[in-house]
């Protein structure tokens, strides 16, 4: 006879679940509203989502120190709080972009916003745990919602993108599950902490099998992080989804996966495991370099930005490889600055989205932006700022991230890697410059049907303006930001 399970409600430490519960309850509320009254304007749902995100953010601030709860599967430590903050701020900025001037299919459905909040909860679970099973559950919750959100854009290409993403994602989920299984088989636990302890205690016995497990996990996380060679889905999926969604995908799922990767590879990097480090090293370098090369020849701005964001992810993987506290700090610094800049850049594409294409092959070819400075000086200047920042030209925000990251790499003893990073930044400068050249140096097209800023209105302009201000004035807040990051990172001991 099975013994009755009695769990003390105190021991569950339910407060550790509050941030996710906020998002889930918010999503349910939106569904309930839809049950009662139909055909409400999208602005209601957008504002509700923002409120939920704000409450969620508010609950996060209360945590200090690593809190465990819910059968010890939850782990609210410094990096998970930091990552959740990034996720929530990015989500808040993203959902405002739904208030676009033109009407799009997906925003007609309240389910879109409910799914969106479910997705946030999924990502939050993913970063706030060191239990491979809960990470998997979080990952799948978020991914399933994300596939649907992409498909709801309702164009041929979006459906294609969603299916592509879904099949690839399913494979990745399989990899991840298989990797977790191997580690469970080896160590008898799915807790990363215990896996680490037991692997180190046995001095990595059954090394080939450990490596096999690592390979599976890299496969699983690699898809989410679009690391080479698992990156092939990214440009197509970005192209198929709306620009706003593409910008979101280049930031939020990745930070969640970075945190998991950080927790996972810490096991190996902290004991200088040669083989794993070498595999990581190769992945980092190829992820930085190959998409950079491919981005050089892209004809569409969105695809260019997609490849560039893969390359940025490669940069940040470098921080995980280096594995020092400073490197972890630089990971978060880089990603926070990248979030504003990249979301801003994609939002600039979003506001220039028009429904009728003018014989262009894609939504945002480079030629479309020819001579933008003469037609619309302010948007051209702002876009120029974002691109310079992405290229790492000082004093714009991403330069500081890059500098701190390269500095951390140098300090960690990886001089060659630092040089490769520097050279990759130089290569990347070319394709960012290409758009700047089109916007600033070429003559406008003789085609007055192109409408710029057609999708813009006050809320969208505000988001872009905020991102632009943050990009330009970075020098003023870099110090306190870094201080905050290092408090949180050191709290969790990475």
């Amino acid at each position: 006879m099975i013994e009755p399970i009695s769990v003390d409600i105190e021991a569950l430490n339910l407060p550790s679940l509050v941030p996710m519960l906020v998002a889930i309850v918010g999503a349910l509320v939106i569904l309930c509203i839809d049950l009662v009254t139909k055909n409400l304007h999208k602005s209601l749902y957008v504002m509700l989502s923002i409120l939920v995100i704000l409450i969620d953010l508010g609950t996060l601030i209360g945590y200090s120190g690593a809190t465990r709860g819910f059968f010890d599967v939850m782990l609210m430590d410094g990096i998970s709080i930091l990552a959740q903050m990034i996720i929530l701020v990015a989500s808040g900025l993203f959902i405002i972009l739904a208030l676009s001037q033109q009407r799009f299919h997906e925003y007609r459905y309240p389910e879109y916003f409910a799914l969106f909040l479910f997705m946030i909860a999924g990502f939050q679970f993913m970063v706030a745990s060191d239990n491979l099973i809960l990470i998997f559950v979080g990952l799948e919750t978020a991914s399933m919602a994300l596939y649907t959100l992409i498909a709801m854009h309702n164009r041929d290409k979006s459906t294609e993108a969603a299916i592509k993403y879904f099949t690839m994602g399913a494979l990745a989920a399989g990899f991840f599950a298989f990797g977790s299984m191997i580690f469970y088989g080896l160590t008898g636990s799915v807790e990363l902490g215990q896996i680490s302890a037991s692997l180190v205690a046995s001095d990595f016995a059954n090394y080939p099998i450990v490596l096999l497990g690592v390979v599976f996990i890299i496969g699983g996380l690699g898809f989410k992080l679009s690391l080479v060679p698992f990156h092939t889905w990214a440009p197509d999926v970005y192209e198929g989804s709306s620009s706003a969604m593409a910008g979101y995908m280049s930031v939020v799922p990745k930070i969640a996966a970075f945190v998991v990767a950080l927790r996972f590879f810490e096991i190996f990097v902290s004991v200088d495991n040669r083989w794993v480090e070498m595999v990581l090293y190769i992945i980092v370098i190829t992820t930085m370099t190959i998409p950079n090369m491919v981005a050089l020849v892209q004809k569409d701005v969105k695809r260019m930005l997609a490849y560039s964001s893969i390359s940025h992810a490669g940069f940040v993987m470098g921080a995980i490889l280096v594995g020092t506290t400073q490197a972890t700090e630089s990971l978060f610094l880089y990603w926070i600055l990248f979030m504003f800049t990249n979301l801003g850049a994609f939002a600039m594409l979003w506001v220039n989205r028009t429904k009728n294409d003018h014989g262009f092959q894609s939504d945002h070819p480079f030629e479309k932006f020819s001579g933008l400075i003469k037609l619309a000086p302010v948007p051209a200047t702002i876009m120029g700022l974002f691109l310079l920042s992405l290229a790492g030209v000082p004093p714009f925000s991403l330069f500081w991230g890059k500098m701190y990251l390269i500095g951390a790499t140098v300090n960690g003893g990886y001089i060659i890697l630092a040089l490769i990073m520097a050279l990759n930044s130089a290569i990347a400068a070319y394709y960012y410059l290409k758009l700047i050249v089109y916007m600033f140096l070429k003559e406008p097209r003789e085609d007055d049907r192109i409408e710029f800023m057609g999708n813009a209105n006050k809320p969208l302009k505000t988001v872009i303006g905020v991102s632009a201000v943050i990009t330009v004035t970075s020098i003023l807040y870099i110090d306190p930001l870094l201080e905050m990051i290092s408090t949180y990172v050191q709290m969790s001991g990475f």
């Binding site: 004093p395 500098m403 500095g407 140098v410 130089a426 410059l433 140096l441 870099i478 870094l482």
Partner: protein, 508 residues
């Protein structure tokens, strides 16, 4: 005036932001006024500068990223003082002489932003702040070349940007590494050059770091073999772009060598004396020959720039007071002279929309004043005694004579070769009969052009006859620099070498 350096940096930028409000008809006057005020401010800096003190003056210090030791740290000494004044002066002159008609407002505001970055480079004492201004200067220049340039302007501007960007990123890695070394030795983070100057580095590390910094600086100078971007940039840039590029931007590289490479890596600098000299001599002779073969007046001057920058590098790597002081003087004089020459080419280009020598001939008859000014500038460029060009060139070569008379002899051909290509240019363009009837009706320089060129001519003659006002403060700081190098060098050979090259004029 506690914050004169900050004012000098940010006044043009602030004025540029305000300038968006100025109507485009009045923008020229606005630009001239702003750059004149900036020039007067820099003169004020000169007046209040204590030339008996060799160290940094007017220092400012505000922590930016305290965790990582990055601070907004400024200061000026005899080495940077005249480069700042030259920068503000040439910017002012180039805006006074500006004849561009297209999108004038954007052009002038861009130049103002550029002026901020140029002054910033010369006054920054923190490596990262230096790097920030250094990189930021690429953006306005990219825009100037790319938007107002000739047919190949986009190619030229991108080439310019990518070359310098790549080099300086490698330099950035070097800087970060040096900061880490400082942290390891002292336990504190700092990117201040003053702090770094107290570090003694082992010779291997010096060599690697020297190479990293070399890439950043050599591409900017430009030194052979990294010079290929320059002819394109000059050939395609509008007049004002060429003037500022030649007068100021190139000097950033040589300034970097003096400010960073020499005091930080004295042993590596001694070891690299001869290799650097050889590169410099290749630049001097090879580009002089290339200049001789050019058909386009502007290309001749562009290649002559590379050639003269070679002499500057040679002087710097003489590692003695005469050589370094002379190359600093040559930086100033080359700034004035090549700026003036590019402006003169601009004058003729505005009238004829061509820069090919074959289109001209006999211009001296229709444009006597133009020919006179061109002649004086050209003599200064060649290095005729009693012009500004002579002093620096002579001192640089004298300095290197103490190192290697043979190499100096080869480098000395710069004067002969320079005279050859310049005089041929002058002969083809100004003398002989007027071959092209369109040239009969050309107007001599007038108004704005005279206002811009006359001060240059006066400086060329005045400083050529009496260079002391510049040489004296420079001398103080350079002596200190050489002293630092001597004290910091770790190998006895390097110490001995620095001592021996610094014995010019001593009685034995």
């Amino acid at each position: 005036m506690e914050h004169i350096l900050s004012i000098l940096i940010f006044f043009p930028a602030f004025a540029a932001v305000m300038g968006f409000m100025v109507h485009k008809d009045a923008i020229r006057t606005y630009g001239i006024t702003v750059t004149t005020i900036e020039f007067l401010l820099s003169c004020f800096l000169w007046v209040s500068f204590d030339s008996n003190y060799a160290g940094m003056q007017f220092s400012e210090f505000i922590p930016v990223i305290s965790q990582y030791g990055i601070a907004y740290n400024l200061g000026v000494d005899g080495i940077s003082l005249f480069l700042i004044i030259m920068t503000t002066f040439m910017t002012m002159i180039s805006i006074i002489g500006l004849t561009e008609k297209r999108e004038l407002k954007n052009l002038i505001l861009t130049v103002l932003f550029l002026e901020m970055t140029m002054v910033g480079v010369f006054v920054a004492l923190d490596a990262i702040v230096f790097y920030v201004f250094w990189e930021l200067s690429l953006v306005p220049m990219l825009y100037i070349i790319g938007a107002w340039g000739g047919k190949l302007r986009i190619y030229a501007s991108i080439k310019f940007f990518l070359y310098t960007f790549t080099g300086s990123l490698v330099m950035l890695v070097g800087m970060l590494y040096l900061g880490y070394v400082y942290f390891q030795t002292t336990g504190n983070w700092s990117f201040s050059i003053i702090d770094w100057n107290m570090m003694m580095l082992p010779i291997d590390m010096q060599m690697w770091l020297f190479v990293a910094f070399f890439l950043g600086f050599a591409i900017k100078v430009p030194m052979v073999p990294f010079h290929t971007w320059l002819p394109y940039a000059h050939g395609q840039a509008p007049t004002i772009g060429s003037v500022i590029l030649a007068a100021v931007l190139l000097k950033m590289g040589t300034y970097g060598f003096i400010r960073f490479s020499l005091p930080l890596f004295p042993d590596a600098s001694v070891a690299m004396m001869i290799p650097m000299a050889i590169l410099a001599i290749i630049a001097i002779v090879y580009t002089a020959l290339v200049a001789y073969a050019q058909e386009d007046i502007k290309q001749v001057i562009a290649y002559s720039s590379v050639s003269h920058m070679g002499v500057i590098i040679l002087g710097i790597f003489a590692l003695n007071v005469e050589g370094i002081g002379g190359s600093l003087f040559l930086m100033i004089s080359h700034g004035i002279v090549s700026g003036g020459l590019f402006m003169l080419v601009g004058v003729i280009y505005d009238r004829r929309h061509t820069k090919m020598m074959s289109e001209f001939g006999g211009l001296a008859r229709v444009m006597p004043m133009y020919a006179t000014v061109f002649g004086i500038m050209l003599m200064a460029s060649v290095g005729l005694p009693l012009t500004i060009g002579f002093v620096g060139e002579f001192l640089s070569l004298l300095g290197f004579f103490a190192v290697s008379p043979i190499l100096t002899g080869i480098a000395g051909t710069t004067i002969i070769l320079g005279a050859a290509y310049m005089l041929v240019l002058y002969k083809k363009t100004f003398f002989g009969p007027i071959t092209n009837p369109i040239n009969e009706k050309l107007q001599d320089i007038k108004g704005r052009e005279i206002a811009a060129l006359v001060p240059l001519v006066m400086l060329v003659v005045y400083l050529g006859v009496y260079p002391k006002p510049i040489l004296e403060p420079v001398d103080k700081s350079v002596k200190q620099l050489v002293q630092v190098m001597y004290l910091k060098s770790v190998t006895p050979e390097a110490k001995a070498k620095i001592a021996t090259v610094n014995t010019i004029g001593e009685t034995k």
